[in-house]
Amino acid sequence: CTSIVAETPSGEIHHARDMDFGLLMGWDTQNDTWLLTEKLRPLIVTGDFTRNNQTIFKAVSFAGYIGVLTGMKPQKFSLTVNERYSVKGSGLSGILKWILGQRTGSWMGFLTRDVFENVDTYAEAKAVLSSKLLIGPIYFIIGGVNSGEGAVLSRSIEKTIDTHDLDAKNGTWFVLETNYDRWKAPLFIDDRRTPATRCMNEMGAANATLANLFNVLNTKPVLNKLTVYTSLMNVKAGILETYIRFCADPCWPW
C-alpha cells in the first residue's frame, strides 16, 4: 500500500491511497498476476453508511468485510490503513492471545469501523487510533480539514512508536507511508517510498491536487501488480473517488 496526505499552500488537505494486497498469496504464472489480488477486484464496493437518512461516513470496502480500510467522514477526518510487518511483535502473539481467550487487543477492522461510527473529530480519531491495544502492528494514516491535520501513526500492538505529522510551515507539506518504518530503509526490492517521494517533490505543494496525487500513485512501482484500487479523498469537500487499477506489463510484482 501507499498512502499520502498532502497540504496545499492554501491549507487544503488531500488524502490518497493505493490499496495493494495479496503479496505472496499465490502467483498465477500464466497471467503474471497475484491470485488473491485478482479475486479482490470484483469485490470492491463503496459503502455509504447512513443514519436518519443522512450519510455518516463513506468507505471503500470489499464485499463481506465489515471493517474500514479506506474511509472518509465528511467535514471530519479520513483514514487509510497500511500493513506493517514487524518481526518483534508480529501480530502472532496478539492472535494467539485472542485464541487463548485474552481479549484485550482490538482487531484493526472492527476498531476503524468503531472510530468512524463514534468519533467526530480528527484529534479524537488520532487519539483513539494512537492508544488502543491492537492484535497486530499497523500504520494508520489520517487526514483532516485544517492546516496540519495529517499524520502517519506507526503502531505496535501496545503503543504508537512514531507519529509523523504534517507541518507545512516547516517544510513537511506531505506525509507518505508505504509498508516500512520511516526511520528505516525500505526493503531494496520493495522501495516504493523513494519513487513516490521523488514524484511528490517534483509535483510540489502548489500543484498538490487530487488529480496529481492520482498521477503519483499510478507511477510504477507505486502502482504494481498488487494494486487493487486507488482512492482519492478530500474531507472538506466530501470527496471519495475510487478507481479499480490494473498494472500493465512491464510491471513489478510488488
Binding site: V45, T46, G64, I95, I99, W107, P195, T219
Partner: protein, 119 residues
C-alpha cells in the same frame, strides 16, 4: 520483464481522469438504523459468488501454512472466538453469512485475514 531496482520510471502526468469512472464501482447504502444482521443483506446476496471465490482462495492459503489447524480451530471453536467481539459486528457477520449462504466461520476468517496476512 522489468528492470531491477533502483526504480527510475519518470513520474507520470495527465492520467486523471482515467477512462474508468468512480461509478464503475457499486455503491451500497449501509443503513445503521437497521438491525445489524440486515445492514449488509443486499450487498452480500449480490456478491455471494465472488465472496465464495475469494474465501476459497483464503482457505487454501491459510491451510498451506497452518496445515488445516486454523480452519479446524475456526470450525470447532467459533463461538469462543466470536465471544470477545462487539455484538453488532458479530450480528453483521451473521447477516452476511446468511445472505450469502457462507458459513459464519469463513466470514469471520475473511474479516480478520488482514491481520493474519501481516504476520
Amino acid at each position: 520483464d522489468f528492470p531491477p531496482p533502483p526504480y527510475s520510471e519518470t513520474c507520470r502526468q495527465g492520467l486523471y481522469p482515467p477512462k474508468e469512472k468512480p461509478t464503475d464501482i457499486a455503491t451500497y447504502e449501509v443503513n445503521l438504523d437497521l438491525p445489524p444482521a440486515k445492514r449488509w443483506a443486499q450487498l452480500a446476496a449480490d456478491k455471494a459468488a465472488e465472496m465464495k471465490d475469494l474465501i476459497s482462495v483464503i482457505k487454501k492459503l491459510v491451510n498451506s501454512f497452518s496445515g488445516g489447524l486454523i480452519i479446524d480451530l475456526v470450525d470447532k471453536d467459533l463461538p469462543k472466538l466470536l465471544s470477545g467481539l462487539p455484538a453488532d459486528s458479530v450480528a453483521e457477520m451473521q447477516g452476511i453469512a446468511q445472505a450469502a449462504n457462507i458459513p459464519l466461520g469463513e466470514i469471520f476468517l475473511y474479516n480478520v485475514f488482514y491481520e493474519f496476512n501481516a504476520f
